[in-house]
């Protein structure tokens, strides 16, 4: 299942978890769990929400946090 997932992710484009789940014939929760595993293994990187650790010590961090309060998870394929 993980291999199939990685094969799907070979195209250098943007995916929705939903689409991947449909392709694999599984649930989005399963896909998210597997993406988490691939992240821990270093295949993927999880993109932080713009203003968490990056903005430590920035005077505007407070204002910024509100502006970037999206709860979407984002992963990118790491170069191997």
């Amino acid at each position: 299942m993980l291999k199939q997932l990685l094969t799907i992710l070979q195209d250098e484009t943007i995916y929705q978890v939903e689409d991947i789940a449909n392709k694999l014939g599984t649930s989005t929760a399963m896909v998210v769990a597997m993406l988490g595993m691939l992240t821990r293994q270093g295949y993927l990187g999880e993109v932080e929400q713009a203003c968490t650790s990056a903005c430590k010590g920035c005077a505007l961090a407070k204002q910024c946090k509100v502006a970037s309060r999206t709860d979407a998870h984002i992963w990118v394929m790491n170069a191997r």
Binding site: T13, C64, A67, H73, I74
Partner: protein
């Protein structure tokens, strides 16, 4: 999730907190006296697997293998079963009795999940599965009962457990070969088939341990492993396949209604083409709404509050010295005060943005735009930072820190100032009605689009000729739409308005005062002032762009300190005696082509000083200078092209 909660509930005050030997991670141990048993409880750090990816995972598994506890209580999060079951697939084949605490049952229930613990238990070889709500101390006694029970009959539980193989992976033959090779050559605490499995999974700690303990056999094992690369993916993949079957059997599907509604909306909202149209439509609507609702209030504030207040203060201070009168009435009230009339514009703009964000639309917008950014060759990670720029460019530049690739990061920083921030949007929204009358809204749309088109073109050109960006696969999990929460939106608006008011009270006020002084000294007459002399020096530049009035050029320059200063400076320089409202007075000194050119330059000009400082901090002085020169070039070229183009076309 909830291990420490369970631990604290059960041990109460009988706790000992220390560190794991040689590690900085906290080790908590405690004693539970229960039904005549004295139970030692250890709170292990949270892990997702037993592979040595992190310190926590190494600590947890070494503890299990070395100390061989009588029973392991594994706490699963019922609301994210798929996530937490992986650890169970690993534990189940270790020779340790286990009990499953199915935690967060309250959350699962609230989200509509139904989990049949009997099905789970049966699939796990009759391993006890106890539903609990740790934070409310529900089910914890049952959990203890079960743990005591399995620890009393370890052999029976283990043999039941061993009947099931969660991982039906295609390398079992090799695992057997490796197992026979290392048999008896390693410390006895490690089960040999488990070692073989971890070697196949590429576990770094186990690999080096085998290399050290059994150097002679390592060579032949290595040959086997090299022949079977990527076994990790097969093994982990088979575990997930097993998890999927398990979840399918034990969990009934939740939230049908909401999902299908989200599904239906997303058919359009995340469609590559329709989604883009929708995004354009919605952003257009945001400007329309902001413009239509805010502008009457802005004008009312300017004409009925600020101007009368300035006039009144002038007469009230009739006996005061000239400088005090002028400073208060022209500099402070009419200058900085005029900028405060932007508040309604910002209010409606942030209200709209906050609303879109809170219902979850902005994530969809990000998704649609990201597709588009891929065409531009821009890095997937660039979107969020650029998007922040609509609020303010500074956080947008700081936000590029999430981009690891330095060149992609620099490119994003260089493009950031082209995203029109609210400061600039407010200035053009303020001036547009007087400048363009009925076509004002179209002009505002056009100007914002111009910025984005230039941004996109610059990105495409850079990608084609200078920096060929590496594309990467990019995956987004888009959350469900939700009912907006007025409090969150209110807070979002409030924070932004406070931030703006602070700016108006500091840098904008300061610039207004300085402008007033420079335009009144020496001699108290603007035409002989220092500022006028300087302005006349700049006149040739203004003439190229169709501004016969030097005050326009000065106002543009002060926008470097804060974008809103364009208005405060113009307000100081076009004194209130000149009847009519400010925007109309400014409009009367410019022809139609030069008005459009002026606003285009205002939109594309060097960003404000705070942004420039952020660029210097994040990218270095060289890139800051390049950015300033680039934007000077772009803004003045665009202004000149618009002015001369329209003039030659005969637009008046």
């Amino acid at each position: 999730m909830g291990k420490s909660t369970v631990f604290n509930m059960l041990t109460g005050l009988n706790q000992h907190v220390g560190n794991w030997p040689g590690k900085t991670i906290e080790q908590k141990t405690g004693v539970v006296n229960y039904k005549g048993y004295k139970i030692d409880l250890v709170d292990l750090p949270g892990t997702y697997s037993l592979t040595a990816n992190s310190l926590e995972e190494r600590i947890a598994r070494n503890y299990l293998l070395k100390n061989r506890p009588d029973a392991v209580i594994i706490i699963l999060n019922a609301a994210t079963l798929e996530h937490s079951l992986y650890l169970l697939t690993e534990l189940i084949n270790l020779p340790i009795p286990i009990v499953v605490g199915l935690n967060m049952m309250d959350v699962a229930k609230q989200q509509g999940f139904q989990i049949e613990e009997n099905v789970l238990s049966a699939a796990l070889g009759d391993t006890p599965v106890i539903p609990i709500v740790a934070s409310h101390n529900q089910g914890l006694n049952k959990l203890l009962d079960a743990a005591i029970e399995v620890s009393q009959h370890p052999n029976q539980t283990l043999s039941q457990k061993y009947r099931i193989t969660p991982s039906d992976y295609p390398h079992q033959e090799i695992q057997k070969q490796i197992t026979s090779k290392i048999q008896g050559k390693l410390p006895a605490i490690y089960p040999t088939d488990w070692i073989a499995l971890k070697l196949l999974e590429g576990d770094s700690e186990i690999t080096s341990m085998v290399k050290e303990s059994a150097p002679e056999t390592w060579k032949s094992i290595e040959m086997l492993l090299i022949d079977h690369e990527d076994t990790f993916l097969d093994i982990a993949g088979s575990r997930y396949a097993w998890i999927e079957r398990l979840v399918r059997a034990a969990m009934t599907n939740p939230r049908k209604g909401t999902i299908s509604l989200t599904d239906r909306l997303d058919k359009i909202a995340t469609h590559p083409f329709a989604g883009l149209l929708l995004l354009i439509g919605i952003s257009g609507a945001v400007f329309w709404l902001t413009y239509t609702l805010a502008n009457p209030i802005v004008y009312w504030l300017g004409n009925s509050i600020i101007s009368p207040l300035a006039l009144w203060s002038k007469s009230a201070l009739g006996n005061a010295p000239f400088w005090l009168q002028g400073l208060i009435s022209d500099g402070i009230i009419n200058g900085a005060g005029m900028v405060l009339t932007f508040l309604p514009i910002l209010f409606f703009f942030f209200a709209a943005m906050g609303f879109l964000e809170d219902i979850g639309y902005l994530t969809r917008a990000a998704y649609v735009m990201d597709r588009f950014m891929h065409w531009m060759g821009l890095h997937g990670r660039s979107f969020m930072p650029l998007f922040l720029g609509f609020g303010c460019n500074v956080p947008s530049i700081m936000g590029t820190r999430i981009i690891e690739d330095r060149r992609a990061r620099i490119l994003t920083i260089m493009l950031s100032p082209l995203v029109p921030c609210t400061g600039r949007i407010a200035v053009i929204t303020f001036l547009a009605p007087a400048f363009f009358g009925k076509s004002a809204l179209i002009a505002v749309w056009g100007l914002v689009s111009l910025n984005l088109v230039i941004l996109a073109s610059l990105g495409i050109l850079t990608n084609k000729f200078i920096y060929k960006g590496k594309r990467t696969a990019f995956i987004m999990e888009i959350p469900l739409y939700h009912v907006p929460n007025p409090r969150t939106i209110g807070l979002f608006i409030w924070n932004n308005l406070v931030e703006f008011t602070k700016r108006a009270g500091t840098i904008i006020l300061l610039v207004a005062i300085v402008m007033w002084w420079l335009s009144n000294y020496p001699g108290g007459n603007i035409e002989n002032s220092i500022l006028a002399q300087f302005g006349h020096q700049l006149a040739p530049l203004g003439h190229c762009l169709g501004w016969q009035d030097w005050r326009i050029t000065i106002a543009l320059l002060t926008s470097f300190l804060a974008k809103e200063n364009t208005i405060s400076t113009l307000s100081v320089l076009y004194k209130i005696e000149e009847s009519g409202n400010l925007a109309a007075n400014i409009a009367s000194s410019l022809t139609m082509p030069s008005r459009l050119g002026f606003l285009a330059i205002q939109m594309l000009f060097i960003p404000c000083v705070a942004t420039v400082a952020a660029i210097r901090k994040e990218a270095g002085t060289k890139w800051m200078v390049i950015n300033i020169l680039l934007l000077l070039f772009i803004s003045f070229s665009a202004g000149a092209i618009i002015y001369w183009g329209l003039t030659l076309l005969g637009v008046k």
